[in-house]
Every structure is written in structure tokens, then in C-alpha cells.
Symmetry: C2
Subunit: 256 residues, 2 copies
């Protein structure tokens, strides 16, 4: 009888518990959406009471913002790692484009759409979105500068090139919730061709066979997000039926 629900309290250090909460919130944000990051939902996932989540995040808005930051940073580190020991800048750039056209990338696209919309109403989240946009710009700019230094790329304004590329990727990702099967080839290659033009590369360079060198092309969004958390304590993986989180955006601040 005592097997169904957890009856004994498990007392953890604040740091471990907080990390666990953030990791869970980030996973929910990535797979189900930021509106699903609620006190109840996170608590249920961790088999604790909602009040405990409130204890660590007195304002739920902060938890949502933290969930987004953690998830987005984890993805960024996977897609555009800060350390690039295994290949050239051109190879890492080619790998980035390869990953961004894969199906696993849809989760990230959805997360960004979600965050950009929700940030309309949530100042804390908006600040985090801006910060993560800058982080992405920086990361890609650094890659480009490195490539320029090695003579792989040629551009007079690495940051402008980086932002142009990211804008196009945002445009392509905007349709992550729609059907994109009959997308013309020139559209599917739009990010690539934008990069090739901005970096003065011969057309076809970045998606040529072998353009990624020996870099691995597999990754799992969820795992990447969890790896971004300092210490993701024993997070019980629970099969989740995605509900309908579409109604949570507009009401929260009405009571403020």
C-alpha cells in the first residue's frame, strides 16, 4: 500500500534541490513548453509538494526564466560549443547547419518561439531572452573570427555576418510547429547560402560531403539541457503526456 506514493521525506541540501528543480524545469520547458513549467508540474515530476518549489522560487516567473536560460544554454553549448578541439571553424559551422536542419532541432526552435512570445508579458524572461540572444551572437561571432584568422572565412564584419545567419535560422525555425515538407530547396538552404555569401565562401561549401570532417552529428536536446545543470541530482525520468499549456500566458500578471 505504501508503494504508490512517496511517504517518507527526503531532505536534500538546498544546492542539490535547487539544481534538481532547475534541471527538471528546463526539461519540461524544452519538451512541453514554458507554460508547463508550473509549481505543480515541477513538483509532481520530483515527487514533492508544490510548496517546496515556491520555497526555492518565491516567484514562479523566476523559475520559468531560469528554465529557459538553462535549456537554451545547454542547447547552445551543444550546437556551437565554446571549445572546438576536434575540427576547424568551417567544420563546426557546417555541423551547426547540419544539426539545425535535423528533427531534433525542432525542440529548440519551439523553445525560442515560446520564449520570444512569452517574454512579451514577462519582464524577467525577456531579460533572459535578450541575454541568450547576445550569447548566441557572441558564440557565432567568435567562431567566425576564428575562421577569418585561419583564412577559412572572409568578412569585414563578423558580428553582422553572425546576426544575419541567426536571423535566417530564426526565420526557418519560426515554422517549427507547422508543416514544412514541401519547402523549396533554395529555402531549405537559405541559412547556408546566407552564410556562404556573408563569409565569401564558394556555394555548396558548407553542406558538401565531408564538410563536417569527423565531428559527430548526433545529439539529444533533452540530455544536452540536463548536462547544462551543474548537478542534476537523481531526476526521476517519468513518461509524460503533454497536456495543453496554451492558456497560461496572459493571466499570470493580471493579479499583480
Amino acid at each position: 500500500m505504501s508503494s504508490s506514493v512517496q511517504r517518507k521525506r527526503i531532505r536534500k541540501s538546498p544546492e542539490a534541490r535547487r539544481a534538481e528543480i532547475v534541471a527538471t524545469a528546463a526539461r519540461i520547458a524544452l519538451t512541453e513548453g514554458l507554460e508547463c513549467v508550473t509549481l505543480r508540474r515541477v513538483a509532481e515530476e520530483l515527487s514533492v509538494r508544490p510548496g517546496l518549489i515556491s520555497h526555492y522560487f518565491p516567484s514562479a516567473e523566476d523559475l520559468v526564466a531560469e528554465a529557459f536560460s538553462t535549456a537554451a544554454l545547454g542547447e547552445l553549448d551543444t550546437l556551437l560549443p565554446a571549445e572546438r578541439p576536434d575540427g576547424t571553424p568551417a567544420q563546426y559551422l557546417a555541423r551547426y547547419f547540419a544539426l539545425s536542419s535535423g528533427e531534433a532541432y525542432d525542440d529548440i526552435s519551439r523553445l525560442w518561439i515560446n520564449a520570444r512570445h512569452l517574454s512579451r508579458y514577462r519582464p524577467v524572461l525577456r531579460e533572459r531572452v535578450t541575454r541568450m540572444e547576445l550569447a548566441s551572437d557572441d558564440r557565432l561571432e567568435t567562431l567566425i573570427l576564428d575562421g577569418v584568422a585561419r583564412g577559412e572565412f572572409r568578412t569585414g564584419d563578423a558580428r553582422s555576418a553572425a546576426i544575419q545567419i541567426l536571423v535566417v535560422l530564426d526565420g526557418l525555425g519560426a515554422h517549427a510547429n507547422s508543416d514544412r515538407t514541401d519547402r523549396p530547396p533554395a529555402v531549405a538552404r537559405l541559412a547556408l547560402s546566407t552564410a556562404e555569401r556573408a563569409l565569401d565562401l564558394p556555394p555548396g561549401t558548407l553542406d558538401a560531403p565531408g564538410a563536417t570532417g569527423t565531428l559527430p552529428l548526433e545529439y539529444s536536446p533533452t540530455e544536452a539541457a540536463e548536462a547544462a545543470v551543474p548537478r542534476a541530482a537523481a531526476a526521476t525520468t517519468v513518461a509524460v503526456t503533454v497536456a495543453d499549456p496554451a492558456d497560461t500566458a496572459a493571466e499570470a500578471d493580471a493579479d499583480a
Copy 2:
């Protein structure tokens, strides 16, 4: 004493009432967000009881979808009119880009971000989003084909060119809730340069002084949306304090 609230019932024809409801919902969607399109909110705006809205839209999801369609179609008709009696295709295209970099365009960008996110959870809305995307593609493709026929543009695939342009505009519009003040010139011109490249136009053609000919460049998003409604009966304009609609997305379908 009887002036504060409306006490006498006003009975309208179903067609007029329905049009009034849709027009109001579309205006709320455009200015405050789709999550603010609730039975209570629309009813309050029209000084009727929420039950009446339910009577015309037994499922609230249908009302939200209708609000999006109406608002988006109104905007499309303003930005890319189906009839173009006052100028050449190049002039209308130049006008489109001019409008899309104006501040009034932010409302449209926000609406699309909103709809693309919300459509993740709402099948009815998703279908409408897809339909409106196709309508936008068609409208721009037709414009381009017309320009090609007149010798203004040159492309072998008008539809691909249209979609490329729209994808870039989506990418630029994705940041409608963020700060974009320090955007590099090449980024701000990205849609233009994409069009110039896809349509084989000399750089600078579309934003050259006089590129829009004598076409007017003013428009009001809200008015455009209301004009899209067949008959927007006496819609009382009420000053609205925007609340926080960010929490309404995820919960609605949980009860289904």
C-alpha cells in the same frame, strides 16, 4: 444611476452580433495577444455577458482561431493588397518592405509569433496559421509573377523567391519583443537584399528614394483588422489596460 452599466438588453441579428464579436476578438488579438481573447474579455469589451460569446462560439478555441485569421488577413490585405491599381509590382514590393520595417509592423510580428507558438497546442489555430502562411506565399508569389511578366523582376521560381523573402521577414520579426536598436545595417536590410538577390535586382533598388512611387506609406494595424470584418457593427472603443496574458496557453486542453 442607470448610466454606469447597461441595463437594457440590445438584441441584434446573429450575423451582426457574430461579426461584432469577431471584430472585437481580432482587435484584442492584435493589440494584446491571442491569450487575451477570452470569453470574459470579449464580452466585457462589448458590454454583454460571457455566456453570449459562448452561444456564438461554443468552443473558445474557435473564437481564438477566427480572431487570428481575421486580424492576419486584414494585415495581409494592407501590406500586400490583392488589387494593385496605384503602382508597379516593384513599387508595391518596396512599399511592403518599407512598412515591414516600421514600428506599426511590430504588432503584426507579435501576432504571428503568438499564433505560431499557440498553434503548438491548438489544432484549430494551427490549421489557420498554415492557411494564412499559404495565403501570404500566394500573395507575394502573385506579385512577383506580375513583376516578372512586366520585366521588372527576373527569377525562375517565383514561389521559392517569395518564401525566401517571407522567411527572412519572419526571422526579423521574431525579435519584435526584444530590443533591436543596435542592429547592423546589413541585418536591417536583410529582407531587401534577399529580395534583390532572388529577383535579380541591382542592390539598393527597393529602398532607393522614390522606390515606392506615389503609394501611401501610412496605415494603422488595428483599423486594417477591423476593415477586414464584413460588418463591424458599433464596436465601442474602450481604453484597455493590457494585463498579463502569458499564462493561458498550456492549461486549456488539459481538461479535454
